[in-house]
Amino acid sequence: MKWLPILLLLPQLLIIAIFFYWPAAHAVQSSFYLQDPFGFGSTFVGWENYADLFGSAEYRKVAWFTVIFTLLVTFLSLAIALLLAVKADNVLHGAKTYRTLLMWVYAVAPPVAGFIGLIMFDQTFGPLTRLFGQFGWDFVLGVNFNDTAFAMVLVSVWKQVPVNFIFFLSGLQSIPRSVREAALIDNRSGMSRFWDITFPLLAPTGFFLLITNITYALFDTFGVVDTLVKGEPGNNPMTLVYKVYVDGFRGNDLGGSSAQSVILMVLVLALTVFQFRLVERRIHYT
């Protein structure tokens, strides 16, 4: 009998071990080696891969861009979704229709979203490029660093707003009606009611979305970045995750690329611990 629980857990443990711990361990191991680009052998180099990264101006630039990109995408996705959800929540009729319409966008895969962005920002026939042209903004996707970064943020946010909206809306609708009505009697200002009552009660949803959105901006935007830079990073902005791919599989620097992914792992771990320690303490689950 002692073995039954372990037996039942085994499939899940195997999956975690094979698809997470094993590759992670491999990444840690190979981050200390210098691989031959043609796969003939590898040399132990200790911390050199890491030293190279921290000494690299390019790596710092990508890291810096990733920070700004993540902050912008997370903040805008959450803020826009919250605004839409609050507005939709006031309209009881047709809320289901909005929800369904918005949910469709969520079903779009990141590379497809990137591809739609590619069309929207196309140099010759892209409607958004033309629109910007009207205002005298000569938008050049894939050539101008800022323009490309702008497109990446826009597409990533567009892709993420629907899922946040759904969560915020259901969060709003789970606030008891009588609590809002009590607030209506206690406070005449709608704005301060929102910040005093609605927002704190929405905090558990918000916290969950904050974590998933940061993860999304850091990792899941890979497809968007890849499509928008058309696989040719050049001078274009890219995120840390994309750089792991570019250095490892395009540049054949497996050691350096592994070191990068180890840094990312540590970063995410630290971030998650930080969020749970500091942010969650201020949240009251009812």
Binding site: A182, D186, N187, R188, H284, T286
Partner: protein
């Protein structure tokens, strides 16, 4: 403190459903009025219109000397206690109670003083730093009361505040709420579906049915002189017996199976005779014979359920009198209430 006047207040929902038909009544300053009726009778809608949580379709509502139809709920100077307490889960008890005051620009010192005073009154002082989730049902109820009191409102509104409590606590809170309202002298409107709450707490009762006011009166008036068969059946436990009878040319109503009583002039044809179970007593040579099937033991009284010529009838017998099933002879202690069989109105 203020009087409340409803002038032909009506509520029609966008789908055309008329929840409250034009209703008018006055509540004098300091009175405790209970709106009672079965679920869906419009009592909550009426209360929510007074609170400003529902729009008033037609008519004028005044609190004090002011027509408040278009006044924000926050500006009506009312306080409401909700069925599920509606406390702010992320705020402490003290913050919950002070929130309304804070938004009216009351100073911090003043808020603290008022909250402490209300907490003292409700025996909540030791709980001021707790959150609602750490309180019992009765304590939450008292916090909701405290939140209402600190605002020093013109009008208290209660929306079935005791229905989530267990029976023992309900009895206790019933008395506490009534005592508190007396002490503060604030006008109060209390909604409930429980006729016992209505009878015990009200200065005046308003009985609602299907969006219509059936009767307004003191508990005694309502009990002694119900205006309709609905009120007769709804108020009082066990409910009043309603027996079908027909009036003859001499002005006497005959119940099939042998009961004949004088009825007021003007009553003709089919009527319903209303007899409260306690208005019947056992007698050797009585006014009517019934066939008792079941006896319910209620402690202070026993309730005999029987039939007279196919009509259900129940009789309350004091505990010191013997009673048995089978044929029983009964005597009327009072004159029965007479209702029109078609309209249900009192004759």
């Amino acid at each position: 403190m203020a009087q409340v006047t409803l002038d032909s207040i009506r509520k029609v929902y966008p789908n055309g459903f008329e929840a409250v038909q034009p209703s008018s009544f006055d509540i004098p300053d300091g009175e405790f009025v209970v709106l009672v009726g079965p679920s869906g009778c419009g009592k909550s809608t009426l209360l929510r219109m007074i609170a400003g949580l529902e729009d008033i379709s037609e008519g004028a509502l005044s609190i004090g000397d002011r027509v408040v139809n278009d006044v924000d709920p926050a500006d009506r100077n009312i306080a409401m206690v909700f069925q599920n307490y509606a406390l702010y889960p992320h705020m402490t008890v003290a913050k919950n109670m002070g929130y309304g005051l804070k938004n009216r620009g009351t100073s911090k010192v003043e808020i603290e003083r008022k909250v402490a005073e209300a907490a003292e009154m409700l025996d909540l002082t030791h709980l001021l730093d707790r959150r609602p989730s750490q309180l019992s049902g009765g304590q939450r109820q008292r916090v909701a009361m405290g939140r209402a009191i600190v605002r020093n409102p013109d009008l208290f509104l209660f929306d079935e505040p005791l229905s989530n409590l267990d029976a023992k606590l309900r009895n206790q809170m019933r008395i506490e709420i009534r005592a508190l309202q007396r002490r503060l002298g604030v006008t109060a409107i209390y909604v409930t579906h429980d006729q016992v709450e209505a009878m015990t707490m009200a200065d005046r009762i308003i009985v609602l049915n299907g969006g219509v006011i059936e009767q307004i009166g003191t508990p005694t008036e309502i009990y002694e002189n119900p205006a309709s068969t609905f009120v007769a059946g709804f108020m009082g436990a066990p409910p009043m017996n309603l027996l079908k009878a027909s009036v003859d040319g001499a002005g006497r109503a005959h119940v099939e199976g042998g009961l004949a009583v004088e009825v007021p002039a003007g009553a003709t044809g089919d009527v319903l005779l209303g007899i409260r179970p306690e208005d019947l007593e056992l007698a050797d040579t009585g006014d009517l014979q019934i066939d008792v099937q079941i006896i319910e033991e209620l402690g202070a009284i026993r309730l005999m359920h029987g039939q007279i010529a196919g009509q259900e009838i129940s009789v309350a017998v004091p505990k010191d009198q013997p009673c048995s099933t089978g044929a029983v002879s009964l005597r009327l202690k009072t004159v029965p209430h007479v209702f029109d069989a078609a309209t249900g109105r009192r004759l």
